[in-house]
């Protein structure tokens, strides 16, 4: 599903250049639930941003579902993101003046679906995450766990090939974290490829593969016996 070869990325900080990713080689098969671990500054978020086409790579190659991702301009990247990827962020990133339902319909709006179809689809996904009754509520009326579940429903609504989650449980307590992870595991069981960036061992153990990054290189890449969240 994902093929990455010799990926390099550096950031310019004034006159200095910060080399963040120093040659990453990394493949993900369909249906895997991968945890990308590392302390802060290890380059894990940068890797996820490049995978998510939110950021550009300096050198190396990146292939997603057989499509080489290169020469990205903003419009092309936007179309790929809409077609291939679903995002879950640590800070949820819901649009605060839109209801849960409207937030979930938004990617479908950009896919060009009709309004009626959008709402029907979005409601189904809200039902999947157990929030059908909360459809008309604003994000400010939802708890953190609920917000993240809405965000997951939004990410899933566009039927992405890969779900990318950046510290999805970072802003949640341990009980809610487990609930969210249970939801992610459940989605994974239905065959979806999922990548999670985390620094929590507990969360990583709930994934089928753990990749450890340190100083911009992969230190360890091993299969894991997936531990059920609940």
């Amino acid at each position: 599903m994902i093929k990455i070869k010799d990926l390099h990325k550096s950031y310019k900080m004034g006159s200095n250049s910060l080399h963040v990713l120093k040659g990453i080689n990394f493949n993900v098969e369909e249906g895997e639930l991968v945890a990308i671990m590392g302390s802060s500054g290890s380059g894990k978020s940068t890797l996820l941003n490049i995978l998510g086409m939110l950021d550009l790579l300096d050198s190396g190659s990146y292939e997603l579902d057989g499509v080489p991702i290169k020469n990205l301009d903003e419009t092309k990247a936007a179309n790929y993101r809409n077609k291939f990827l679903g995002f879950v962020f640590q800070s949820f990133n819901l649009i605060n003046y839109k209801t849960a339902l409207e937030n979930v319909t938004l990617p479908l709006y950009y896919q060009g679906l009709k309004r009626k179809d959008r709402e029907e689809t979005a409601l189904n996904y809200l039902e999947d995450v157990g929030l059908k009754e909360w459809a008309t509520h604003l994000p400010s009326e939802l708890s953190g766990g609920q917000k993240q579940r809405v965000a997951i429903a939004r990410a899933m609504a566009s039927k992405p090939k890969v779900l990318l989650a950046d510290e999805p449980t970072g802003a949640l307590d341990s009980k809610t974290s487990k609930e969210v992870m249970a939801l992610i595991q459940q989605i994974n069981k239905s065959g979806k490829t999922i990548l999670i960036v985390t620094h929590e061992e507990d969360i990583a153990k709930m994934c089928s593969r753990i990749v450890r990054l340190k100083d911009g290189v992969i230190m360890e890449d091993k299969k894991n016996k997936m531990k059920s969240a609940i």
Binding site: N49, E74, N82, F87, I95, P107, Y109, Q111, S158
Partner: protein, 410 residues
């Protein structure tokens, strides 16, 4: 681009961001409102000015005879010059190119009565074009016409106050008044902005007056209106030639400052025109200044709006919005808001001007303040364009910012 879905999305956004919508809408509406009101006041000032100076038509030359002060060609000094109907015909023949209309004026006064009422009024024997020279406004009936002059009809046109005095609220048109031992038919009633005195006048055909007054063909004054298209320079030339021609005709020394007096509005006209154009400049300056303030206001708000929405735009981009759709959305929204609120500002402004009407005339010299509707619409469109332009630049920048940076913006 303007699909129903886009509209619904925009209505939703507007509906849920009322303060933001109100702020930008208010700026535009206020800008247009102030523009309309100030511009209207400016026009009101000009109206007052025109009313002051334009009671008499501006393209008028008055020819008045007087006594000569120098002997010339065998004639003694202090000879009395008189005009008659032949002079008018000759002038018409000689200067046909310049002349729009010409009328004599024979002024006298006399007792005029109706039933038991009678009063002394000034009476003027005139021709049809006199109406234009004096800017006489006919309220009912008609003015003296060509047939009256030709047939020496005993038809008269009376001032509003004459009618009030004699007829006591009755309609005077069609009734007969007595004067000089004869009866005269009232064919019209007029008003005049020149004041009460001007409305206590009776006009009669000059030929009729001449025949009654011992069948002379003398006239007191000749009033000529020239074609306005000959312009200021043409008017000055015409005046000069006319004076020369008349002096020659009446055997007056060309160097005699007396004999014939010519009064014309053309020399005043230039000064008046200059004053009017200075007023126009001031009005335009105020208008442009107000619009500029409005443009700056809406630009500021658009920059602020886009800044405030940076994170939202980042989220939209992360889930698949193209830069084009982001810019389109912001522009669509801003044009919609500025159009609606600009229209409201225009309506309120015009309504306010209508409401003010002549309330400020007495104290502030603002008469009938109003604005040319096309000026108002042009100003509104200008503001919409600049609002869109002001929104476009930050929107384009926001659309090109990497989503990851937009998402970090808290």
């Amino acid at each position: 681009m303007f699909s129903r879905d886009r509209w619904l999305e925009i209505f939703e956004t507007i509906n849920k961001n009322k303060l933001r919508t109100f702020l930008s809408g208010f700026t535009v509406a206020l800008g247009i409102l102030i523009f309309v009101v100030l511009f209207g006041f400016g026009n009101g000032l000009r109206n007052t000015f025109e009313k002051f100076f334009k009671d008499d038509a501006l393209n008028t030359i008055w020819l008045n005879p007087s006594r000569t002060s120098k002997p010339y060609m065998g004639y003694e000094a202090n000879r009395r010059i008189e005009f008659d109907n032949d002079d008018m015909e000759d002038i018409q023949k000689r200067f046909d190119f310049y002349i729009e209309g010409m009328t004599p004026r024979i002024s006298f006064s006399g007792n005029v009565g109706y039933k038991l009422e009678s009063n002394n009024y000034s009476i003027r024997g005139v021709g049809p074009s006199h109406q234009k020279n004096e800017m006489t406004i006919i309220m009912r009936g008609r003015y003296i016409n060509g047939l009256d002059v030709e047939n020496k009809e005993r038809n008269v046109v009376i001032g509003r106050l004459v009618e009030q005095d004699l007829f006591k609220g009755e309609d005077g048109v069609g009734k007969f008044i007595s004067g000089g031992g004869r009866s005269w038919k009232v064919v019209g009633v007029f008003q005049d902005d020149g004041g009460d005195r001007e409305e206590r006048i009776i006009y009669a055909p000059y030929t009729t007056v001449q025949s009654i007054r011992k069948s002379t063909d003398k006239v007191d004054q000749i009033i000529i209106s020239y074609k306005p298209e000959i312009g200021f320079a043409g008017a000055v030339a015409f005046e000069k030639q006319l004076k020369k021609y008349m002096k020659q005709k009446k055997f007056i020394d060309p160097k005699d400052p007396r004999g014939i007096f010519i009064r014309s509005a053309s020399s005043d006209l230039k000064e008046n025109d200059q004053f009017a154009s200075v007023l126009q400049y001031i009005i335009s300056f105020v208008g442009i200044g107000t619009l500029l303030a409005g443009i700056i206001g809406i630009s500021n708000i658009m920059v602020f709006v886009v800044k405030e929405r940076t994170k939202e735009l980042g989220i939209r981009k992360a889930i698949g919005a193209t830069p084009k759709s982001i810019v389109g959305m912001i522009l669509h929204e801003s044009i919609f808001i500025t159009t609606i609120s600009g229209y409201f500002g225009l309506l309120i402004g015009v309504g306010l001007l209508n409401f003010i009407g002549d309330k400020l005339e007495e104290e502030y010299y603002i008469t009938d303040p109003s604005i040319d509707i096309s000026t108002g619409i042009a100003a509104t469109i200008l503001l919409i364009i600049f609002g869109a332009f002001a929104g476009y630049l930050p929107a384009k920048r926001a659309a090109q910012i990497k989503p990851i940076e937009a998402l970090r913006d808290e």
